[in-house]
Assembly symmetry: C2
Homo-oligomer: 243 residues x 2
């Protein structure tokens, strides 16, 4: 029933570095850095609301000044269609509320097609400097189009031109093809003003409505803290998982 | 047929920040930083072998000295079982070859159970300081157990004790439970030597055998470069996707 291309015999598996290895990645052992140098304990949570806990972590991380170069709102979104082949890519989180986690994209993109087939999705935030990750799982729904219009209109003109130049995930012959589209739209904006670069029909927002959160705090002894919030109807259960 | 918990009406969707927002994440706009300040063009690839291209990017990034604090071999692995609910977590890549991309874990973990149900998986490398991501999709297979034993024995004693203290993804009552296991194993190692901390039966390696690579180079005008390698049997096709 699955569509794996092929399954090799493990006996034939090689386990070597590339021809001229300059890095031995097996020797990379980061010293996990727990900013507060303390464990993350279920008996000591700042809140039992996982949305509020997300908010607390997110703001703590945003306020660490030497993280300024990380995109703290960059999040991996994983989706899967009926063919059971998952795909993952980074998106920029644009809102979080007690309903869910939102981002904008082109509904015709591959992720849009997969979400159409199957609304289940996973988000993964990873902030390596803090040895923290947050896993979120749930179902995705579309945002109202008026929110997409409002956000679209708030974007800088070059971002709007860039988005509108691109039929996301479509194959294009080369970069010049995209540059030509961009030039046409730039000329349009010069002639008629920036408001001429209207939101494409297929561009809009998604919201992931969580039924599962995991807050992961790396620890230097490898006994990482994993605190899970799982929803059954409207009730959240909190538990700890083995790392 | 899908198992989404529920689908809200978009009309009821709120789109607000948390109660006391201190960050307007819609205003976070990273200036994409292309180290070489040039486009990533299919007509100018350093190689047409996606495994070698991965190796080139990986080593370039490893050699940027101010990235020393990022875990360059940390990769998001996404898996999905028959229930069509994807899940994602970071793992540490421990090898890459012209066969595929390997990591070690506990086969009884949730990812192990999902891989057992469905070998299709996705990997996502994201190095925000370079505005680069690499997406890899394919099927996962187990590595030979002797490779797992060999790698296990190369790990520092505290890592082995940490791994062996943990029935990965199992619910545990509290952190103390894990600490107790760790103390028992530490005492065992003190009594009988580090070689007493043998590899658990269920701990081993996986290799993802790619059928799809995407090399993503962020560009400041939002016309990001997306170069895809797709495999049909043994033939790789190269194409560009709209960003």
């Amino acid at each position: 029933m699955f569509t794996a291309v092929r399954r090799f015999s493990t006996a034939t598996r090689r386990f070597l570095s590339m021809d001229t290895p300059s890095i031995d990645i097996q020797e990379i052992r980061a010293k996990y850095w727990n900013k507060d140098e303390e464990f993350f304990l279920e008996e000591n949570l700042p809140t039992t609301d996982p949305f509020k806990l997300f908010d607390i972590w997110f703001k703590q991380i945003a306020n660490i000044s030497d993280l300024s170069f990380e995109e703290i709102n960059a999040v991996c979104v994983s989706t899967v269609g009926k063919d059971l082949r998952p795909s993952s890519r980074m998106v920029l989180l644009k809102s979080y509320t007690s309903d869910g986690f939102s981002f904008f994209t082109n509904y015709n993109s591959r992720k849009g097609q997969q979400i159409e087939e199957n609304p289940n999705a996973a988000m993964l935030f990873h902030w390596p400097k803090t040895s923290r990750q947050i896993r979120i799982e749930g179902a995705i729904d579309k945002l109202d189009d008026d929110l997409a219009v409002k956000y679209w209109n708030s974007r800088p003109l070059p971002s709007r031109i860039g988005s509108k130049s691109s039929e996301q995930s479509e194959t294009v012959p080369n970069r010049q093809f995209l540059e030509n589209k961009k030039r046409e739209l730039t000329e349009l904006a010069e002639r008629e003003g920036g408001q001429a670069i209207t939101k494409p029909e297929s561009w809009g927002g998604y919201i992931l409505i969580p039924r599962y959160f995991e807050f992961w705090q790396g620890q230097s002894d490898r006994l990482h803290d994993r605190i899970v919030f799982e929803r059954d109807e409207e009730v959240w259960t909190i538990k700890r998982l083995s790392p």
